[in-house]
Symmetry: C2
Subunit: 337 residues, 2 copies
Amino acid sequence: MFAIRDFFKSARDAALAVAAVLLFAASAQAQNDPLPSWNDTAPKAAIVAFVGKVTKEGSPEFVPVPERIAVFDNDGTLWVEHPMYTQLTFALDRVKALAPQHPEWKDTQPFKAVLEGDMKTLAASGEKGLLELVMVTHAGMTTSDFQKVVTDWLSTARDPRFKRPYTELVYQPMVELLAYLRANGFKTFIVSGGGVEFMRPWAEKAYGVPPEQVVGSSIKTEFRMQDDTPALYRLPEVNFIDDKAGKPVGINQEIGRRPIAAFGNSDGDLEMLQWTTMGGAPARIGVLIHHTDADREYAYDRDTEFGRLDKALDAAAITGWTVVDMKSDWKEVFPHQ
Amino acid sequence: MFAIRDFFKSARDAALAVAAVLLFAASAQAQNDPLPSWNDTAPKAAIVAFVGKVTKEGSPEFVPVPERIAVFDNDGTLWVEHPMYTQLTFALDRVKALAPQHPEWKDTQPFKAVLEGDMKTLAASGEKGLLELVMVTHAGMTTSDFQKVVTDWLSTARDPRFKRPYTELVYQPMVELLAYLRANGFKTFIVSGGGVEFMRPWAEKAYGVPPEQVVGSSIKTEFRMQDDTPALYRLPEVNFIDDKAGKPVGINQEIGRRPIAAFGNSDGDLEMLQWTTMGGAPARIGVLIHHTDADREYAYDRDTEFGRLDKALDAAAITGWTVVDMKSDWKEVFPHQ
């Protein structure tokens, strides 16, 4: 005999069972989700689908492990670049630190502007002024001394808005993405306009990317033996600018394989995404991080000075690159949130 | 009762048992020996001891896996460089192949000398003439076209003495050494004066060294978009010469870590061995291959033109680098022997 109360009882049991299954599934999914800081929107789906097809043996788009090369811009793609590239902040701080040894800087531009915090005059000094700043702060010492200067600066410098070390202002979704790609047999490289020796001292800890997988701009160095001790001296001369059309050149020079995945955020990454995705094998992915989140980070694209995203955004619509809307596609932005 | 014949019988059994144990042990050792083409002389012992101490956790000379960087010269260290660098043979063959499109070469040096097989005049054209040959044969095409030219040439070209493809004239002991180091957590790099894009197409198959771990000399390249197809064009302009004092520069530029093991065979490797072994951490090894075997390969050192081993041989005695005597230290030279 089937009583009403039995019906309710079994209905309740069934509901509980269904709830338990759903809860378990949700929890299992969360545990297995390699990209928990990404919302379940189109960019995440596109990335996961891409990884799925290139790693599926027997599939026509399968890519053997050695050819799974992924390249990432750094400034604005892996960490914050606003309101000023961190490396430029470093250069300005170095000018202030070195000023006592250079009394002449009080009356010489662009140093005078830096010491007086006159950013307008500094900006007016243009690329030439900037290069001068880079040379006096980045050259004239050995590579190991420079590495120490960078490491020491990063250990004390703090971002003025977020009040945190710059190496904590990396994007948590991108850190997860790097690890996810590596777990799927990818070799992950940084390909940045920033100085290669400015990035190498901390990129391994921050991103899991070892020094030999960091490609960047560089100044010339010279080998010298002094008292049976070899050293590399950093010379005040540009060696290579790894930006815009220089990025495919740097990739070819130092990696020697065409990537199958490229991640950037600005017009400086346009050629890298073209080189990665166009005219090559079928399974390729190009991704642009679009800074749309003034609350949690910054919002900028076509009208910004650093990290301008204009031509590349137009190209994305035509070529089918994935555009990540930081505000709606990222659940978290920083590791500390 | 113990009869004489029983004694002999058990003595024979014991001897057989001992022999069996010895045979088994020898066979097990041969199977476990990661360097079977090396004789059991001092260089092999030095290499095995070095690997043992840097990989032994808790030892004062332990080196963590990411820092186990080993660098290898190519010409004369990993494959034959005599009587002429293979890349130069390639350039001469290319001049002959391209000659029908360049009737003017019949009357222009150094091309005339190449076409007439006049090696004396060619040598007299010096570095300038050589550079001219390299530029007409290595530039003026895309990187992927050049890769195809190299691959096609290697598939048909044969060494005149050994009558084999050049990629079979690699040194079996060094191929074993590369694999042995990798099995012990090392990342193996080629750091060669040869052209990086001449080596990359075959280094992975021949040595297990992927393109991104090949450092070499290079010419400049330029990124161009044509009809929505990106390409890198090879320009007739030197970018970097990865030889002598250039080797530590190239290592720093592309690897960004100081190696703990370096293998070379000539004065072109002197600075690379200095940079690797001097003034750094305690556990380092520098090795020079000394070509002493005219029967199986070649014998040359101080008086040769290519691959001269003179200053570096003197330095080895002072700094304690390991010198491999090809004749006495290598059981086999080539894979096919």
